[in-house]
Amino acid sequence: MDFSIASILLVDGLTNGAIYALLGLATVLVFAVTRVIFIPQGEFVTYGALTLAILQTGQVPGTIWLLMLLAGLAALAEAWQTWKRYRLAGTALLAGLKVLVAPVVVSLVTLWAAPQQFSLLVQALLSVCIVTCFGPLVYRLAYQSLADASSLVLLIVSVGVHFALTGLGLLFFGAEGFRNPPFWNARFSLGAVNLSGQAVIIALASMALIVMLWLFFERTLYGKALRATAVNRLGARLMGISSQTAGQLTLAMAALIGALSGLLIGPTTTVFYDSGFLIGLKGFVAAVIGGLASYPGAAIGALAVGIIEAFGSFWASAFKEVIVFTLILPVLLWRSLKGGHSDEEH
């Protein structure tokens, strides 16, 4: 190994690490607000990348049928719950319709836009909208009624949601993989390192997203409400913050981050219907390094995972995944020996 190889591996590791960082942040966010260990995070990545790939071929992605189905079910559930509570048909209907609006609008726009072959950026935006709509619906249908259950129950539900979304992904996208066109075709040479435009975009977009998340949590009312829910659910509810709205908003953000990660990673690798799981799991390892509570910890952990993966694939490619996932053991040992609880932990 010389300097040039090391620097190429470092760039590769940091590029993937930036994606893992986004997913790690989403995992921490979801866990902090809802106590759900969100395994299906990676499926949002796949759905984002593959929805764009299908739009690229000028076809209507199967994801919008699932979106409409989930929206219909969520609307029924919402209307029924409202009816049980107020016994007012009009109010119940309105509550159901409110759930339907965003998914149906996005689906109809997609149906109209898919055959028009718009530019890559428009299609990317559309894919992000479609996948983001999944977040609140998944929360409404899978988690909301179990919001007070134990973390273990929520974890089991997560596993179920993961398998359901992967299976549906196979149905919508088929068994073969897709590779999206890059958003920026430029290449830069810095000595031995050959930097692709896409890698630059990944780095910049990840940083921008992290800064925006920080601003959201520090400067906006909704962000502060989410933080309050994360610190103390009951206290937040007493202050008039709806834990249901908090949960749906959180999952919408997780889905948004997942879809963006999918768009970022789509041009650098071949994405299959089941690719998301391992990518999401590496984000989870990063989140664990951050103790499922610390955002900077998760981000640094993610970069470490990316770099270790890159060097692992160079030195011992057959054991690459073993190396990455074994990493979690010393981290857990260290964290449990250290023992202390951070301020914002439950």
């Binding site: 190889i5 190429i8 591996l9 590769d12 590029t15 993937n16 994606i19 196979l170 088929g174 068994a175 073969e176 993989g177 897709f178 590779r179 050959n194 990673i265 650098t268 690798t269 071949t270 299959f272 089941d274 690719s275 799981f277 391992l278 990518i279 993966e309 890159a310 060097f311 692992g312 694939s313 160079f314 490619s317 057959a318 690459k320 995944e321």
Partner: protein
């Protein structure tokens, strides 16, 4: 309870046998749903194109879904044997359920043709015959082409699974005794986000050629990574990658690659004296008339090949025994093992009592990707 059940089964079996005595029954277990349904469905479509009778006897094909699950495959195979009194078992399209069918076939003494490769070496599955080519046969074609083009050092970049390991092992068998050798062995997984590390390692020694062992669109990512690293040598791909998904995902980067495949993939380009020319063209013409140009599919090819084999062996077996009997099943096995070379869509098979993998060493052809299409390379 058990007694009533077995009485009932006996009565059912009796009635079924009565109805089916005149026909040749074939039971096919296929994954029509689940993870490998993409392989099972073309087989089902190809079976629809089979002749309706062979040797004057009506062909009765029963297809059941096993959803890629060995438990279902076992259940299907048992139903075929006990209820439908089949003469021949077929399936499945993935190795685990195919193994399950093979176990029932061995237990009941029923000939079994599988569309997924299973271990048929040294009497492990005495009634089962593989219709896909073994990695050993395909390794032979690759090693021969490498030798002809003067390659000495080879890099290996393959799946970290059974397919990758088997190919590496068989390539080493075929390269033993030549001056060719592997200078690096790197692994990756289909769902990896990056193979930069492996590509760096494998290109570091600048080998004459690099062999990528992967399947379908999964074969494109390592190929692109090698090109990105500026690798200028020859790149070989295996028959798992010999589908148009490689060009769809790989684009310009896979131009010039050498891909090993069965002859049917390039049926039109085969020389007229190639043993598979006629049989492969027959299938391609019939299939693509229905499913469109370039829709040919290796798994549909296996199902077609099975029907070619049946047309060869059923008339022989009919001379000595009646369908639906134990003697007929034995006669089918004997006919297949003594039939000699049979040219098929996927190559030439020559099954014997000890060789149930079938294909002969001259089965694989080498194609090059030129202008986004396959171009057959001379032997």
């Amino acid at each position: 309870m058990t007694f009533t059940k077995s009485l009932l089964a006996l009565a059912l079996a009796g009635s079924a046998a009565g109805a089916a005595l005149a026909d040749i029954n074939i039971g096919v277990s296929l994954p029509l749903t689940g993870p490998t349904s993409a392989l099972g469905i073309p087989i089902k479509n190809a079976i629809a194109l089979w002749p309706t009778s062979i040797g004057g006897e009506k062909l009765n094909v029963i297809i059941l879904d096993d959803a890629t699950d060995p438990t279902n495959a076992t259940k299907n195979a048992r139903r075929f044997v006990t209820d439908d009194k089949v003469d021949i078992l077929m399936g499945s399209a993935a190795t685990p359920p195919a193994n399950a069918v093979a176990a029932v076939a061995a237990e009941t003494g029923t000939m079994h043709m599988t569309f997924a490769p299973i271990d048929v070496s040294t009497g492990k599955a005495p009634w089962s015959y593989n219709t896909p080519q073994s990695t050993l046969v395909m390794s032979h074609a690759i090693a021969a082409h490498m030798k002809k083009t003067g390659i000495k050092t080879v890099g290996f970049l393959g799946y970290a699974d059974a397919y990758g390991e088997l190919f590496l092992r068989d390539m080493k068998v075929k390269m033993a005794g030549t001056d060719m050798k592997f200078v690096s062995e790197e692994r990756f997984a289909r769902t990896d986000t990056s193979v930069t590390g492996q590509a760096l390692k494998v290109t570091a020694g600048n080998p004459d050629a690099i062999l990528i062992v992967a399947s379908g669109s999964g074969a494109a990512m390592p190929h692109k990574a090698l090109i990105e690293r500026g690798y200028k040598g020859k790149i070989y791909q295996t028959h798992g990658a010999a589908s148009r998904d490689l060009m769809r995902v790989g684009g310009k980067d896979v131009e010039g690659a050498f891909v090993v495949a069965g002859p049917g993939v390039v049926a039109e380009q085969l020389p007229a004296n190639h043993p598979s020319k006629q049989v492969a063209m027959a299938h391609v013409t019939a299939w693509e008339k229905i499913y469109g140009p370039n829709s040919r599919n290796p798994f549909a090819g296996h199902a077609y090949d099975a029907s070619v084999i049946l047309q060869k062996i059923i008339p022989i077996a009919l001379k000595t025994a009646k369908p639906g009997t134990k003697e007929f099943r034995g006669a089918l096995k004997a006919a297949l093992e003594n039939a000699g070379p049979i040219p098929l869509f996927h190559g030439t098979v020559n099954y014997t009592a000890t060789n149930h993998a079938g294909y002969t060493d001259d089965t694989g052809v080498i194609m090059q990707i030129v202008n986004g299409d396959w171009k057959l390379q001379p032997k």
